[in-house]
């Protein structure tokens, strides 16, 4: 039996998506604070920040920045809607990566030292996580025999039972996307003062923050697709939510016990661990299938 999310559910999820991303960030700050024996900000702090930013007058260097910020949010919004409606996973992936291109271009469009370095670092990050992300999406397609998200709900066993290792690799992507140690390379507050975002202010900075919420929702959403329990909607919701929380908790721990690395190290880690794990997993799947087929 295929579990097809109803249209109403898809619409509601698309609307809720940025808030889910926002809550994840809010909890993140809270838990991190508790780990460091601080009280920490309220859970809704990211939301308050954005509301306040919208109320501030903006100071920008040039109009191109506004265009890139809008395109960034726009493509991620489109990608989110496609994910919620069970669209094509490859298109969803490419729209996220297009969004990141616009974000980087927004940073590059201003001839400013910090913003420029931020843009460069954003590209190093892309070089590190895009292959992992793409290979993960590809391995999902390989197992599902389709790139349509709704087909994942028609599988016999959850994806995580067949290809668990890409999830480990995706942690690298998730850490980079969450701007967390050891990969908070592009925004690196203490070094280059938020890098790509430095030349934004007011409502347009708020747009970047909202786009970031979407980004978090998308990455964690795609990762939780591995935990879809076919034929059982209730268990699916529970296991996806639990998986999302677990992924997220692991990321907070890693964030708190590591320090920022150089981009060189990031690239090497992503190639040596990220890509290798996926390749090993897919190889195992093939070998098992070959033995089973031969027997």
């Amino acid at each position: 039996m295929n579990f097809q999310p109803s249209i109403l559910f898809s619409i509601l999820l698309s609307i809720a998506a940025p808030f889910i991303g926002m809550l994840i960030l809010g909890f993140d700050r809270k838990i991190t604070a508790r780990m460091q024996n601080r009280v920490g900000p309220p859970i809704l702090q990211p939301f308050y920040d954005v509301v306040k930013l919208f109320g501030k007058s903006e100071l920008m260097v040039k109009k191109a920045q506004i265009l890139f910020a809008l395109m960034f949010v726009g493509t991620l919004l489109l990608s989110t809607v496609l994910l919620c409606f069970g669209g094509d996973l490859l298109v969803i992936f490419f729209l996220i990566s297009t969004g990141m291109i616009f974000y980087t271009l927004g940073a590059y469009s201003v001839k400013s030292g910090f913003s420029f370095i931020g843009g460069n670092r954003e590209l190093y990050q892309m070089l590190a996580y895009e292959p992992i992300f793409m290979l993960t999406v590809f391995s999902v397609g390989l197992i599902t025999k389709s790139f349509r998200v709704d087909q994942i709900f028609g599988l016999e066993v959850p994806l995580v039972a067949i290809i668990p290792l890409p999830l480990v690799s995706m942690m690298i992507v998730f850490l980079i996307k969450m701007q967390k140690s050891p990969f908070d390379i592009s925004t690196a507050h203490t070094e280059i003062i938020s890098g790509p975002m430095i030349e934004y202010s007011g409502g347009y900075l708020a747009l970047l923050k909202i786009a970031h919420w979407y980004e978090i929702f998308l990455v964690i959403g795609i990762m939780s697709l591995f935990f879809v329990v076919p034929g059982n909607p209730v268990l699916t919701v529970v296991s996806m939510a639990a998986a999302g929380l677990a992924i997220y908790f692991v990321s907070i721990i890693i964030d708190n016990v590591t320090a920022r690395v150089h981009w060189n190290t990031m690239l090497r880690l992503s190639a040596a661990i990220g890509i290798t794990l996926i390749v090993v997993n897919v190889a195992i799947v093939y070998i098992v299938a070959y033995i089973a087929g031969g027997a």
Partner: protein, 642 residues
């Protein structure tokens, strides 16, 4: 005019007319008469290609087959077409020998002499004795028809641009003779079913590209032209060897026979196909033969635009895709081609990050995209071939656009260095926008190249290990294009945009290509229905791409370029309507740190520099090619196809 003569007319318009116009350019007395000849050549090529495509739709089986038995030549009587081709080939081979001797290209000299001897022996001694003389066959299906449209239309736009670009330069007669003639030779090559005739036009493109690359006549261009000549003669020798192997061992003399083979396959056929693919790999400048195309950038920019987008390198692609149905008989050939193409894709994408010369970045990007197409041809599923054709079409448009854009910068600002073009959006908004749009249409959805890449990933489900190369290569591709885009738009304040003058001979072809790149991407559903699916079907594949209302549906997914494009355009328009008044403008924040006046870098020389990686890349490339050819020889030796 009846059907048959209409077809002959269309073929003549796309082949003989540009060749003849080119020849006449040589003796044109002045600029005006030369321009008339050039116009006649390109107008007839464009009109002919459209006419031919329309005729294809009405032809039985959507193919046009013509056998040229003998041609009556006044004063000489009937002479067989095959003899004409042979004589032309011998003349050309003699010219190659003369040329090779004059420029001291000794490899090419030795190979040309051997090739001439072998051809003479085969055509005059072996073939008549064994009764394997064949008529010259022309076969035009949707794949050749699509190639002809690419060559004729994009090629002609580049010719228009070249007329302005070359104004006031020396030896323009010779330049345009080869430039316009190139289009005719390309069209003729894609129409030829007979291998011997195909080789003739193949070699003409080698000669023409040599003459165009050495146009500047300085030390560097002479040296690079020599290298291009030497390498392409090696490729041509591969094709000649294939003709002899296929003729002697399999009695096969045409491309169509190879693609349509069924039943037991002779090992010699496998070797023949490998040799043909070897020629194509050289022509398409795959690693380790990339140096000739990189060196070719010393030529005037229109030459680069022509060689990279619609002609020359695309002939190799055309041949491999044409042969791809045969790969199912010997999977090893498909695997090796996928590996060679995929390796070229990933290695050139990484090296391109380290380049700051705009033409060199584009050259590496061309080699990479051709590698991707060859990889897809190696995978040879219907979806892979569909993706390969989409990439061929859209890469040709975007690459012509980018080269011509970079050419205008070079022509007027005298630089090819990407760092010199920092902030060009403010100084020369028009030309900067054209380069920016060229980059956008190369990497961003929903444009055609992206759709091709999207399908390439789905196609590699049939060969999953290729995906590693594809994933790393496409990430690196995004990095070097975004970095370039970033330099062009980097300014520290909003600047007054100055009105910009551009010659109509520059702006018309640029505008046409830009409209094509964007417009065709929006109607990609129609592109699939009119060109891609028919071309795939005409080569005997099942059609798997469905064009359903606004979506292109693949076996494992779907993409709606119109929906994505319209949403992104809506956001862009909304953004353009926002006004940012001067009171809200500020200067960049530097936190009290002095930054240098010019920002640059991110070339990653440690990872991607030519001096660091070239030796490994070339070594791996040579190894791959040697294994590829060795497989064919081993197949012959053990008497079994693999």
């Amino acid at each position: 005019m009846d059907g048959e003569s209409a077809k002959i007319t269309a073929i003549a318009l796309t082949t003989l007319a540009p060749l003849l116009a080119g020849l006449l350019c040589y003796i044109a007395p002045g600029r005006k008469s030369r321009n008339v000849l050039i116009s006649a050549g390109i107008v007839s090529a464009m009109a002919g290609s459209v006419l031919l495509f329309l005729l294809l739709r009405g032809s039985p089986g959507h193919t046009i087959r013509i056998e040229l038995g003998s041609v009556a030549i006044p004063g000489l009587g009937a002479i067989s077409a095959n003899e004409i081709i042979t004589i032309a080939e011998i003349t050309l081979a003699a010219a190659f020998i003369y040329l090779a001797a004059r420029i001291k290209a000794f490899y090419a000299l030795a190979l040309s002499i051997a090739q001439l001897g072998a051809m003479i022996w085969y055509e005059f001694s072996y073939a008549p004795a064994h009764g394997s003389e064949h008529a010259v066959r022309i076969l035009i299906d949707y794949w050749s028809g699509t190639m002809c449209l690419i060559v004729s239309i994009i090629g002609s736009l580049i010719v228009i641009y070249a007329v302005k670009y070359m104004e006031g330069q020396h030896s323009q007669n010779r330049f345009f003779a080869y430039f316009v003639g190139f289009l005719g030779a390309m069209n003729a090559a894609v129409f030829c079913d007979s291998l011997a005739a195909f080789l003739l036009f193949w070699e003409i493109t080698t000669l023409a590209s040599y003459m165009l690359i050495k146009h500047e006549q300085n030390t560097e261009s002479l040296q690079n032209a020599k290298r291009a000549f030497q390498l392409n003669v090696i490729g041509g020798a591969g094709i000649s060897a294939a003709i002899i192997v296929l003729g002697i061992a399999c009695n096969i003399s045409s491309l169509g026979e190879i693609a349509a083979l069924e039943g037991a396959i002779a090992p010699a056929l496998m070797l023949g196909v490998i040799l043909l693919c070897f020629g194509a790999i050289v022509k398409s400048a795959q690693v380790p033969f990339q140096s000739w195309l990189l060196g070719a950038m010393v030529a005037p920019t229109p030459v680069s635009a022509l060689l990279h987008s619609s002609t020359m390198v695309k002939l190799g692609i055309y041949l491999i895709i044409r042969l791809s149905p045969a790969f199912s008989h010997f999977p090893a050939v498909g695997y090796m081609l996928a590996l060679i193409g995929g390796f070229s894709f990933v290695s050139t994408a990484i090296i391109a990050i380290s380049q700051n010369n705009a033409k060199k970045v584009l050259a590496y990007s061309t080699i990479g995209n051709l590698g991707l197409i060859i990889m897809l041809a190696g995978i040879h599923t219907s979806l892979a071939i569909s993706a390969a054709i989409i990439l061929t079409i859209f890469h040709a448009i975007s690459k012509a656009l980018l080269f011509m854009g970079v050419g205008v910068v070079q022509h007027e600002m005298h630089t090819r260095d990407i760092e010199d073009t920092e902030g060009m959006i403010a100084k020369r908004p028009l030309i900067a926008t054209i380069i920016l749009m060229g980059i956008v249409t190369m990497i961003i959805p929903p444009f055609g190249v992206f759709v091709g890449k999207y399908m390439a990933i789905q196609a590699s489900v049939a060969a999953p290990w290729m995906m590693i190369l594809l994933a790393v290569g496409s990430a690196a591709t995004v990095v070097y294009y975004v970095k370039w885009f970033g330099r062009l738009i980097s300014t520290d304040r909003e600047m007054e945009r100055k009105p910009e003058h551009m010659s109509t001979l520059f702006s018309t072809p640029l505008a046409a290509l830009l409209a094509g790149a964007i417009g065709l991407s929006f109607v990609i559903v129609q592109v699939v229905a009119w060109f891609v699916d028919p071309a795939v079907a005409s080569m005997g594949y099942d059609v798997v791409l469905q064009a359903i209302s606004v979506e292109v549906v693949t076996p494992s997914g779907y993409i709606s370029s119109i929906a994505i494009g319209a949403s992104m355009a809506a956001v862009l328009l909304a953004g353009l309507m926002i006004k940012l008044d001067d009171s809200k403008k500020t200067r960049p924040y530097s936190c009290g740190i002095e930054f240098p006046g010019e920002l640059g870098g991110m070339y990653m020389h440690g990872y991607a520099g030519e001096d660091k990686v070239n030796k490994y890349v070339n070594f791996a490339g040579i190894a791959l090619i040697m294994i590829f050819v060795a497989i064919g020889i081993i197949a012959m030796a053990v008497g079994k196809v693999m």
